[in-house]
Symmetry: D3
Subunit: 300 residues, 6 copies
């Protein structure tokens, strides 16, 4: 009689509604794949860490007041360790099915290569997709051989350039080889460097307005390394002088206004290198802000 489900939660407050207790509505899928990274692996453990933080958060929010909807957790994609083709196929299938049933869907990476496959699962549903990537890196590499999570956008756009309008936010100085910029230009990607964000939000807000007009919906991909390493230490490739989380939130708030939000992913968290689980905790709040500003806007 005095027994309960084992947990590390000891506050005896029956009204302490947590995210895990809300109506299970927004689909959430973990993709524990980090076999594509050429850097520091560990993102395979990230979906579980983000979930742990996400589900223990609560529903009181300034302005929005009380959020209503939680997550319908569909589990993890059953990755095939070391097999990029087998796993890519599965990610595409899973994403396709998820998008066919509901938008927006949330994906927890995994290294950033997962975003390519998620988006391939999305392309058949829309004519033109707006893709907004928060990242310190272009991810437009051309590699001679082998995999890297730094080439996915190049690979995606080589095949599906006409399907996407792309904005990149948070590109970091001294973090990319110069040939990247040329590829970005070739693909018509609108690039916002971290230092450009520091100069003011007008240009980027304008670009966000324009991408909404040109597309049928937006997908947001957040590589946590676009944030400064003191806020996001637990990533594959930490960024000195990266963006501050409040800048990211301010831009997200603008992105999700009056738009058809198709999906969201958070990638590149490497828990073995994290401090105090800080990066996963921050990721959890970024996910909630994105979804709830979006839902809040739709209600208005």
């Amino acid at each position: 009689m005095y027994l309960e489900e084992p947990s590390n939660s000891f506050i005896r407050d029956e009204n302490d509604i947590k995210i895990k207790d809300l109506e299970k509505k927004i689909p959430l899928i973990g993709i524990p794949w980090d076999w594509s990274t050429g850097g520091r692996p560990g993102a395979r453990f990230s979906p579980q860490e983000i979930r742990k933080e996400l589900y223990s958060l609560r529903s009181d929010v300034y302005k929005i007041r009380e959020i209503k909807y939680g997550f319908k957790d569909l589990g993890n994609v059953k990755v095939v360790p070391g097999d990029v083709d087998g796993t890519s196929h599965r990610i595409i299938s899973v994403a396709e099915k998820a998008f066919s049933e509901y938008t927006p869907t949330v994906f927890l990476g995994g290294d950033h290569s997962i975003t390519k496959n998620i988006l391939i699962g999305l392309i058949n549903f829309y004519k033109k997709i707006g893709l907004i990537v928060f990242d310190a890196h272009y991810d437009l590499r051309e590699v001679n051989e082998g995999l890297t999570s730094g080439s996915w956008l190049n690979e995606l756009l080589k095949s599906y350039k006409e399907k996407f309008e792309v904005i990149q936010i948070g590109i970091s100085d001294y973090s990319n080889p110069p040939y990247m910029k040329k590829i970005a230009d070739k693909f018509g990607i609108k690039v916002f460097y971290r230092d450009q964000i520091s100069e003011g939000f007008d240009i980027i807000f304008n670009e966000i307005k324009m991408i909404k007009e040109k597309t049928d919906g937006l997908y947001i991909s957040i590589d946590m390394d676009h944030l400064d390493q003191s806020f996001a230490p637990g990533v594959n490739s930490p960024t000195a002088l990266g963006m501050y989380p409040d800048e990211t939130i301010k831009i997200i708030k603008e992105i999700v206004k009056n738009v058809n939000l198709l999906g969201l992913d958070v990638t590149e968290i490497a828990p073995p290198f994290d401090l105090n689980n800080m990066t996963s905790r921050l990721a959890a709040k970024l996910i909630l802000y994105t979804l709830n500003y979006y839902i809040g806007n739709k209600n208005e």
Copy 2:
């Protein structure tokens, strides 16, 4: 002859006045109590860590120039491990005696439940007390059973609502269940969310002005978790997207202007989870800023 008190300080500078060398004036009391927390314990070790940082700081300050007064360290409340009633009684007695002799007094927690007992020790001296709490959480929980450091303000106001005007600063989104806001409203607490602070300081400065008019003096309670986890990693419950320390200092500067400052506490630091003793070091500076802006103002 070549022997000295053992320490880890090796700079041979006889003019290196530290806080511990100043006139012992402002009473300081440690309260190593963390047996009320339902989260990550460890705050019992916090008074010693804060002292270590505090006493090794120096007295040169911009604008104020040179501060004169240090701390009269009264030691730690002799807590009764695991006995909340016995310890509460002692905290109340100690606080009451301290306040009868001098204000402001500084208290080093311990978990946040200590503030309730400190304030009970204060109520007989003033008709109306202004209580300003920096915290990511409301601390207004109703628990079915057992203790939590998240219920102290509820318990205090249930008994002594008429004695206090309360402002809460730094309440964090996704960190509280929604029923909290209703209890805050019921008690007439003025609440400032972290995101509200980001919008500007006018409203809060106005509220601070009003609380000064309505009360006989102010007591400041700082739960270090109101700060962003990258600045305050070593707390029971770290906060992503919390306040920045310069925002806290700006508000404190406004609070201590032309006011009767009754006391100050710093709580919820859990040294076992801290990085490089960062959180205690920051707490030490917050304490010094509060007191010296206060003393500086009085001199004008």
Copy 3:
């Protein structure tokens, strides 16, 4: 279709039977209570860490070959944070019920004070209980006030001396005040210092033989701090020059031979201070060895 329960396990081996997959037979109860400790808290998080390690181990064992039985996890005792009386009552009730249905039962602490309550739950079922405690400390303190996990055995024997025969193994030099030895003598406890173990196993094996003859069954309580700090770093109070795990196992093997094993607990692991989860991983193997040497012996 390509989705699975989220986990951090990625090896696709359908025959990889883990402890969690075995027949759910031996009752296991977590007791996340550390509000009695006067030292470094954190043992409240230990049941979950031990479970994580325990359930992911496998069933192939040298000599025993393949073990058959896993755990019937009854969950955690719903502790009342900060309320020692309320929680003690619950532990006693839960233990009593568990022992009434099956022996041996496994308990995962928590601080060592839980053992007192577990044993109180056991006393009605047997006339004389053999208690074998592995511990660097006597846990026979007399405290003036407040709680400590270092007094449970004193409290237990004060009330129920006639019910128990006690052997203590691993008492560490320089880790106890001298008055302890006198109390141990008063209660007739057979004490084996760590340094005595180093001298040979004959005397202790003889004492084990004798306690079996004098009692109706044995209960084993393992305070992980009896082990050297390089093997068990993550405990409340680490022990330099403690026992080596293979010594412990050798003694356990002798204990569980031809005996009625009533129960087993593992206590005092403080995960926030552990390195690489080493101490919980070791605890998990100690639990399995105890049970399987016991079961193996019965089968013979």
Copy 4:
């Protein structure tokens, strides 16, 4: 003039001969491949960490007195990230060339899957190869799909059973599913559990004697997780109650007596999880002991 090659070595002793200063003789090859692991990745960083420790050790040894030969460092195999087939091909080619020129050759992993490819590179040179594996795990998994470093020996023996006589040393209780033992039996592997080693060295020494008689030379593969986690914390899968390093050395000493030593590898060190680089430092000494006891024996 007062400038030197940058390093972290500041002792100005021109006679301080280090391993890196010895005659460059024994071939050494790094294989930074960990894309096969289904557990905790990071072994890709291990060759560099082992080198760092290895090259800074010195040449004075008890009994052997002064060792003469150092390493001819051939660099790292240029792995193809995420491409198991491409990389396997390269490892085989590199190993084949190395073995054709000199034995023994030293390989620094990487996850344990590299050993399969190294040995494939070796099979054409000898009729019968003795393979001695130190490992807590059988590495004989059958996986439904995907890669794991726990299946390499199964894969190797499926194709080349007749080429190898295999001894496994250090198999850990509760670390393997029971079907492993059956596969080991099927392949005629001589298995020595960790607990069997504790019982005495006679049987294993006898088995070592026999394998020497049956084969043309021995290859030693050391998975560092066969060692107790307090000695080898920085591995993919740490082992509680593993072997002690002095036991390993004692067995190695016996292995390399009067034998044709073909090669040696050290695998499964995951530096991101190591403490103070302890595991790489230990690995470096194991390598040196193996080679120098071998060379020392040949000289006699």
Copy 5:
């Protein structure tokens, strides 16, 4: 054929130009000296950590676009461990030679005492040198005996006051004894406290303008402890409420405009206390920004 230089870099992108691949032009010298510090030693390991981060950064920069010049690494000054006079002599000689051949030269400390010797190596080349120091501390101590990295500027100006115009930026409240300010005044140092920077950049920009007019060139010395401890945790003496890196960069940008930049040093990083190599990574970017804004300006 499939072998390569050992490294921890696995991305196979032949166009991935890194700083180490650029034209070797700007002289860079490591000074691994920390035997003067009276605080937490470890800066002797800093040159290697900064190099590691610096050389692996890339050349794409917002606005500047693609940087052309990398570093001509002259190695480390061969310090004489524990011998301050011998080492000082070497630093001076090395600096003198470097400055005679090229400006600006970059120096990687080491504790802050190295800057005194670097500047002594510089004084013969210019009539008046502008020295801009980023530091939380005045470094103007008078010590009774022994060394400290907190006295170098005092020692320098005592001998060479007439050669320098000095600005100090980032002096931290509660981090200096009050007598420092008087010494600063005596030497005519322009001091900018961290809190003064928060009030706006006009005054400091004006002062920077004036120092350019009064001198023949500027030397910048960056003590990493002027930055907030959440951005620069790995320093001898961490600073709570320190400057933010973007403030530093904004000021540096102003400093290097239309000026003759003589040199730059980064000091006081203590890698043993760093988190995730964060402080060295940030230092590397500060160095690159300084040089490239400088070079970029010259080109205009």
Copy 6:
């Protein structure tokens, strides 16, 4: 009234006698000097860490039963940071005075270079001193320039060879350049390698017997790096395959039998690299065992 001296000790047991509460008899001196090390500095912080562990231990010991004598803490030698001559002079003076008043005296280093100066302070009191050094390294370096804690014994014996008989215990394979052995032979040092200890204690016990006969008293110097890195991780230069603490204690027990013990030092602990303060905790017990086996023997 409910206030007490601040501490981190919360067990309310008035009979909990700790080492700090015993009769203050055995002189203890800290020597926080690490400016001679060419390796990883940090030993300057070691005296305080050892004290913290030492004074909180208790007085119950197996066989000896209850120890009576504690330490007369004379404080720390007031080192002159960075000044080896000034500090050496002070260490010699302090040691000389201490030895003139009482033996044995305990010294807490500091790097190992302190032992030279302690022993110089001792030479005038005795005709022939037996020096027993536990160390993984010979400490007989000849350096071209600069300091190192690895040369002290060479320097000492060059000047005072005739005053000392020396035994070195625990010399580690692969940890010394071969020329060391020759110097040891030249000075007639009896050397016991770690691997020799593994072979049995007879030879070393015999050598200990002989040194007692040849000298007027023994001094024991313990460099903690003679212990295996899993037991002593927090040292300047950690040793893989080092000695086990129980071996050290066994030898110490033999050393202090029927002898005139002159002094004892513990050196080379570098707390910044320690794990859980493990190495200081072990050092504290080694000190207590040495002294109490000594005192216990005298009583017999």
